[in-house]
């Protein structure tokens, strides 16, 4: 009974996405083409990847405000290293992922060791990563490399001339990877336990410190991967890029049906949260007369809708549990 109730937010997310898509399709029949779908996946690839990391952090009851800065740092790091050295991009990617993962693990360590709120530690991390990006360069650095051209030119042509790009595939694989880790591994179980409550998790035998560090390391890794994808998407590195992406990612996670207090949610829901937000943007582009600020208002209203929905569900399942106890 409760397992079913836990799926409701996920169903609601998917239903709202389908309904929104249907409304868009009725107004603009061309919306239902593989071109639009391909673009939707490509344009939101970096957001989807970083939101997967954010989902795991939020499932554990934490929050990671540093990811937007880490994406910007990644882009700058890649472009500056490619400009100044002759390393192959794949080597640079590996270096970068090692750096961002270590950075995430470091924040996790501080959160656990100093018993400080994740909010303020990752806020410091946000300043640090953004500052590190500024110190590398304050200009927008273009990336000219044959490998980047190769990645940009390789895509799968779907029927209907839609392009399934490499970065879209990377995003979909990240979601699958995140879902696997969160729902099918011992680490995932520990994350959910931690989100349910630190004390209970400890009593259940969860290694709280190790799990906390791994959660933020995972988020750092995903932010680094997202930075790589973003650098491919924009073909440059810019220290002022992706300001505020962390909050967009949190919004996507909440719209995706994950409860912000942690302990309940699905990684797949986050994908639909990201796509719903992307769909709003696409609709506004199609319409042409609406201003882009409507995106923000609609996303805010969606956030509110989902939170109220979750509140109602929690109350519903809560009363059921109470009834069962009585």
């Amino acid at each position: 009974m409760t397992a079913n109730a836990r799926l409701y937010p996920l169903f609601a997310t998917i239903a709202i996405f389908i309904a929104a898509y249907a409304i868009c399709w009725m107004q603009f029949p061309y919306m239902l083409s593989t071109r639009v779908v391909g673009n939707l996946l490509t344009d939101n690839a970096y957001l989807g990847i970083v939101a997967v990391g954010m989902t795991v952090v939020i499932l554990s009851g934490g929050i990671d405000l540093s990811v937007g800065s880490v994406i910007a740092f990644s882009g700058v790091f890649i472009s500056v290293v490619l400009r100044d050295t002759s390393l192959h991009p794949l080597v640079v990617f590996a270096l970068l992922l090692a750096v961002t993962t270590a950075f995430g693990a470091f924040m996790g360590l501080i959160i656990h060791w100093l018993a400080m709120p994740a909010f303020i530690v990752t806020l410091a991390g946000m300043f640090l990563a953004r500052g590190a990006a500024y110190m590398l360069t304050i200009d927008s650095v273009p990336i000219d490399h044959a490998f980047y051209e190769f990645i940009k030119d390789s895509y799968y042509l779907m029927p209907g001339k839609g392009r399934l790009t490499v970065i879209a595939v990377v995003m979909l694989l990240s979601v699958a990877f995140g879902a696997l880790i969160a729902h099918r591994t011992r680490f995932g179980a520990s994350v959910f336990a931690l989100g349910g409550g630190v004390q209970t998790a400890r009593l259940m035998g969860v290694n709280v410190g190790q799990t906390t560090i791994l959660v933020y390391a995972f988020s750092g890794f995903m932010a680094g991967l997202s930075g790589i994808v973003f650098s491919i998407y924009t073909g440059s590195g810019y220290p002022l890029a992706t300001v505020g992406t962390e909050l967009t990612a949190i919004a996507a996670v909440v719209i995706g049906g994950t409860i912000l207090t942690g302990g309940a949610g699905y990684v797949v829901g986050t994908l639909f949260g990201v796509l719903t937000m992307g769909l709003i943007q696409t609709y506004i582009v199609f319409d042409g007369t609406l201003s882009s600020w409507w995106t923000k208002i609609v996303i805010g209203l969606l956030l509110l809708l989902f939170i109220v929905l979750q509140k109602g569900l929690l109350k519903l399942t809560g009363t059921q549990r109470d009834a069962a106890l009585a």
């Binding site: 410091a124 500052g131 590190a132 110190m135 209203l301 509140k311």
Partner: protein, 344 residues
């Protein structure tokens, strides 16, 4: 009074240390001059430019004391600034413009308060909603443009001076004193702390937590309205995109540097305002000392980490443990002697 000084001593020492540090790099930092009827100098500049964050920090302190957080204040600045500029540009005059901006701030606070206190949404999410959608609302008011105006009376709130002191500095000082008196001369402060420590227990003890929570979020909205008025009046225009952008994070940082726990409970508005001044002194100091501004964020991050380290409950525990151990070793225990006597 002594208790009060002891509470804000760490912040005062930090501020003094940073001022000394900046003066080493930029000797003119502490110079204050008097030109054309107003005080001038880097320190006066810090007092003026720190005004938005200091104003926000006053409201944020109260919200954090109730174990909440208000992410929307930067956006509320944009909304209230847009409302004020719109009212001035439509020819309503200064007083109605100020009143409308303040009402807008209170309304934003009311919205947050209802979401938190009545619907029971976590503060961080409840205020995230207004944070993301509010800039859209502000842009609706300004119709996507930067709404400029030329009204000397309204501009006074940003660039005017009172007795030679920039008006924004006077404003945050007066507001901080007024709110502190309101909190400490009445039971309000204690009730706010009670909610932060344990909302259920405070409700059982007869505190009307629901009304008080809404009032606290409205106070935060009003502080954001003042900050929005100052920011808008300063540039004589409302920029819905950039007004107050990310200032909520600076305000939260100011409260944390002020030694207030994010887990609610005891609070000190004076310490939070000092925290805001510390942040502004760092920002201005780095620029004046001739460091490239790109170092600003890294230095800020390093400082925050240092302050977190000093405040960490775990570290304090370890420190106390080490001190006790050292004390024990200094005073020879009688048992040790007896063991030594037995051993040979």
């Amino acid at each position: 009074m002594r208790r009060f000084l002891a509470r804000i001593a760490p912040q005062l020492v930090t501020l003094a240390a940073i001022v000394v540090l900046v003066t080493l790099f930029f000797p003119d930092f502490v110079q204050i001059g008097f030109e054309r009827g107003r005080l001038v100098g880097p320190i006066i500049d810090v007092l003026k430019r720190g005004a938005p964050v200091a104003l926000l920090a006053i409201g944020m302190t109260l919200v954090i004391a109730t174990r909440g957080i208000d992410l929307s204040v930067g956006t509320v600045m944009a909304i209230t600034g847009a409302v004020g500029a719109w009212a001035i540009a439509s020819g309503y005059g200064v007083v109605p413009a100020l009143a409308l901006a303040m009402v807008a701030g209170l309304a934003c606070g009311l919205w947050n308060g209802i979401l938190v206190a009545i619907i029971g949404i976590q503060p961080i999410v409840a205020t995230l909603i207004l944070m993301t959608s509010g800039r859209g609302v502000a842009q609706l008011i300004t119709e996507g443009r930067i709404l400029t105006f030329n009204d000397p009376a309204f501009a006074f709130f940003g660039s005017g001076t009172l007795l030679g002191i920039p008006f924004p500095a006077v404003l945050w000082l007066l507001l901080a004193i007024a709110v502190t008196l309101l909190m400490r001369r009445t039971a309000l402060g204690m009730l706010v702390e009670a909610i932060g420590i344990n909302r259920a227990a405070s409700a059982l003890a007869g505190v009307n937590a629901r009304v008080l929570l809404i009032a606290v979020y409205m106070a935060s909205g009003l502080c954001a309205a003042f900050a929005g008025i100052v920011a808008t009046a300063d540039i004589r225009g409302a920029d819905a995109n950039n007004a107050g952008l990310w200032l909520e994070l600076d305000a939260i940082l100011a409260v944390v540097i002020g030694g207030n726990s994010l887990l609610g409970g005891r609070f000190s508005i004076a310490a939070s305002v000092l925290g805001a001044l510390i942040i502004q002194t760092i920002d201005t100091g780095i620029l004046l000392a001739g460091f490239p501004s790109e170092y600003n964020l890294v230095i800020k991050a390093g400082l925050v980490l240092l302050i977190l380290l000093l405040q960490s409950p775990n570290l304090a525990h370890t420190w106390r443990f080490l001190r006790d151990e050292a004390m024990r070793r200094r005073e020879p225990e009688p048992k040790l002697h007896t063991r030594k006597e037995i051993e040979p």
